[in-house]
Structure formats: structure tokens, C-alpha cells
Subunit: 278 residues, 2 copies
Amino acid sequence: MNVGILGLGLIGGSIGVDLMRQINVHVFGIDKNPKHEKIALDRSLIHSTISLEECLETIHLLILAIPVNSIAEILPIILDSMPENLVVMDTGSTKMSICKTVMHHPKRGRFVATHPIAGTEYSGPEAAVKGLFYDKKTIVCEPEKSDRDALEMVLNLYHALGMIPLYLTPEDHDRQLAFVSHLSHVTSFALSKTVLEVEKDDHRIFSLAGSGFSSTVRLAKSNPHTWKAIFIDNQSFVLEALDAYILQLENFRELLSAKQSKSIEDYLLKSQEIQRIL
Amino acid sequence: MNVGILGLGLIGGSIGVDLMRQINVHVFGIDKNPKHEKIALDRSLIHSTISLEECLETIHLLILAIPVNSIAEILPIILDSMPENLVVMDTGSTKMSICKTVMHHPKRGRFVATHPIAGTEYSGPEAAVKGLFYDKKTIVCEPEKSDRDALEMVLNLYHALGMIPLYLTPEDHDRQLAFVSHLSHVTSFALSKTVLEVEKDDHRIFSLAGSGFSSTVRLAKSNPHTWKAIFIDNQSFVLEALDAYILQLENFRELLSAKQSKSIEDYLLKSQEIQRIL
């Protein structure tokens, strides 16, 4: 089987490096940044590079691993111009706008909308790692709108990566991710910016930072282009999550201002219930 | 040397287990919770238990590893009643109020104010681990107010644990920690509470949570008693840090509401500078 990966960053590159171990799979890589293509070849994330036009004539499956706004832009164009039997899947962190952009496309059945829940705070082909997806969940949206063979091909791919498929509507996906992923990124970006601001007047501020700080702020290292696109694409759910979060902070602020010892303890005890989940 | 540890939680227990490997050191443990004393004995975090009164007559060094409000309460009482030569140190996460409470005490010189910057989100003697402090920093405040022999004994202890001492005024310590530790805990507690609230209406909300969420929320598992005391004790600096953080979130909220793509990217790029530190 010939697979094309468009976008050789953390996700595309990590899919590539795992597929390279599959028997009888040839992995073509395409990235608008020639440096990324070179690194992907040097690191054996792909077998070879190719142009997108040529690729469409050669492959059986195309994986879109580019920012979500770019997926929504390019997906209808690819469906328009590609051969009838090609299967296209995406890996984007939002699903509503991507599914909507092709909902009436005559080749909608050739597309499978997915989101593998895996990643690190690093980006680019240098960040690609083997086994990133192993034993993690992947979301498949609107499986009923994909042709049976297309869905099967994509599920086989995820099976090969060691992923467990879950099915969700695009709306449920986008709302849930806003709370358990996108909001975490906002909290990290804002925490980073808060302490970097303090650093301007107090150069030693980071000298006492320990593992707790690192843990809460590490997502701020994530790719700004990728995350700008996700936040804007999922704007209304991210704002809903952010508003709920700010309310919780203001709640805590009020209790602390009044040194309401008992209520602060109740607040922290309630928060600690996260132990049940993690 | 005989060492007494008052408070056999994560910090006290982890100091104990490392000291147990030292030659010619006997480690006495004291905890108001008899279960904690039993676990500490069972896990070999201490050699034996003892009452605080007896302990003061037997040991050379007393380590206070209890919540910061309890340290501030008990420290003057211990200084009042203990033998002249005993050395007392604390491990509290705030330093201003503790130092202030004994600033005019006739035995101030026997006390060394410290804060080892190490920990995990777990608590109690079950959470104690070997090597927790190795290669980490420990803060010493007001070393000039401690007797030379007392300071030397405490520095030797931290050297034995593998820690690197740094010197800070209590005020600088408390302000810096508010930004790089206490604020991180507030962000985690509030994030946990936000998503737990959503869970009431959407039971599946956590099914998609990945490593990013875990990382940003793990501090919410921290001990509510310990952290209530820290927040209240360091109230003004924690509120300063929290206000700066809420401002950054509101800033981001405004940009996202207006879908100001370029400004959002600038915000994220600026946040990403944390790479320079971590």
C-alpha cells in the first residue's frame, strides 16, 4: 500500500515513522517546507518525497496532518481533483468545521474524519517519535458518512499504530476537547506569559521553579501556528471553557481575599477529586 | 547524630528515608497521626517513634515538616522549652511569617529557616520516596540570624541529601514562590474544578483527556491541608500572582473573541519563549 502524508510535523512524522515498520507500505511525505522534507528523510520518517499532484496518482491513502484551518481549506480541493478510489483522512484537533466543509461534497464518502489523541509539546519533524500513538485513543467522527472501504482502511491504519477507536459527533468532540485539551493549552500559555512578564523586573524569578511549574507550563512550548488555528476554529467552545475556568479562579480569589479557611479547604478538597480520574 | 522529624508526610518522610542511609544517624519520627507513624516505621522512613518532649532531650537536630501555619505556631513553643544546644530547622513553603514569629526570640540563633524545592503531587508517608531532593535547590533564609554551628549542621544535612543551597530574603522567597509554585497549584486546582463541574452533565468528558490535561491538572491532587495553609499564609503575593494571571487570560479571551489571528499568534509566540527556561 502507498500512503501519502501531507505535513511532516509531530503528528505526520510520528505516523510516518510507525508506518515505515509496516511490511509492504511505502510512505510518501509532502511538506511545503523543504527543510522539513529533508529532516523527515534523514530521520527515516518517510521513504521518499513527492509533489502533491503526483502523489494523488500514486497512493491509496492520503493523511492530512497540517493545521486545522489548512485542512478545511485544502480538503475540498483534493476531493475535487483526486482519483475516485483514493481515501483521505485527517488528524486535526477540531472536527466540526472540517466535517462541515465537505458535508455536501459528492466524494464525501472517500473522506474519514479522525483525531488521534496523542502528542507532546514539541513540534516539527525533529519532534516525531516512534510509538507516539500506541495504546492511545483515536476519535472517528461521522463514520456513517464515509464509504465502508474507506473507513476500514483508516481503522486498519489506526490498528497498526496501536490505537483504540472511539466514535463521537463532531460537536461532542469539539466541546469535550475544548475542556480537556484546548483549555489546558490556554492555561499554560497564560501562565508562561504571566511569569515571563514578571521576569522583566526580577531576573531570578525562574531560579526557584521546580517540577510543578514545569508540569503546568510545558504545553506553552506547543506550536503557535497549530494552536492559533485550533483556538480560532473552536472559538465558541474554547470561550465557554475559558469562561468557566476564569469563574473558578475568581471564586478562589474571593475566598482567599477573605481568608475563608474552611471554604478554601472545601474548594481544594473538591478539586482533589480529580484523583478518581487520573 | 540523632535527628527528629516532626511530620511524616511527603517531605518529612522523604528526608527520613534518605537520612536512614547515613552512617551514625538515628532518625526519630513524630506525627500526631499514629497511622502515619506506623506506616513510616513499616516503610523504614524512620528508626523509631518518640514523643516530642522526650525527643527534644535526645536529639541534636529537629526538622519541622508540618503545614506552614503549624510551624509558625509550634516553633516559638519549641524554642522556649528545648535544651540550649538543639538546632531546629523547618521545611515550609513560605518563609516570611515563620521568620517573623521568632524574629525577637532569645533563641532565634538555634533556628534555621529553609525550604527544599522538591515534591510531588502525592502526600502522606506513603508518598515518601528516596532521592526526592537529589540535585534540587534548597532555599535558606536569614542565614545571618542563625548561629554558625546551627547553619553548618543544616547545610551538612542538605549536602547529605544532595541539595544545592540558595540564599534569599523571606520576602523575595515568598514572592518568587507565589509565581513559580503557588500559582501553578491554583491553576491546577481551578482547572480540575472546572472540568469536574462539566462532568456532572457530561459523564464522558474525561474519556478524551490526554497527557496534556494530566500534566496541567496533576497538582490538583496535592494535599488540601498543606496548600490551604500556604495560600492563606502567602495571601498577598498569591493574590498578586493570581491577578496577573487572570489578566493574561482575559487578554487572551479578548483576542479570541475578536478572532484577532495575528495578535493571538503573537501572544502564543511570546508564551513559547518559556522554551528558553525549561
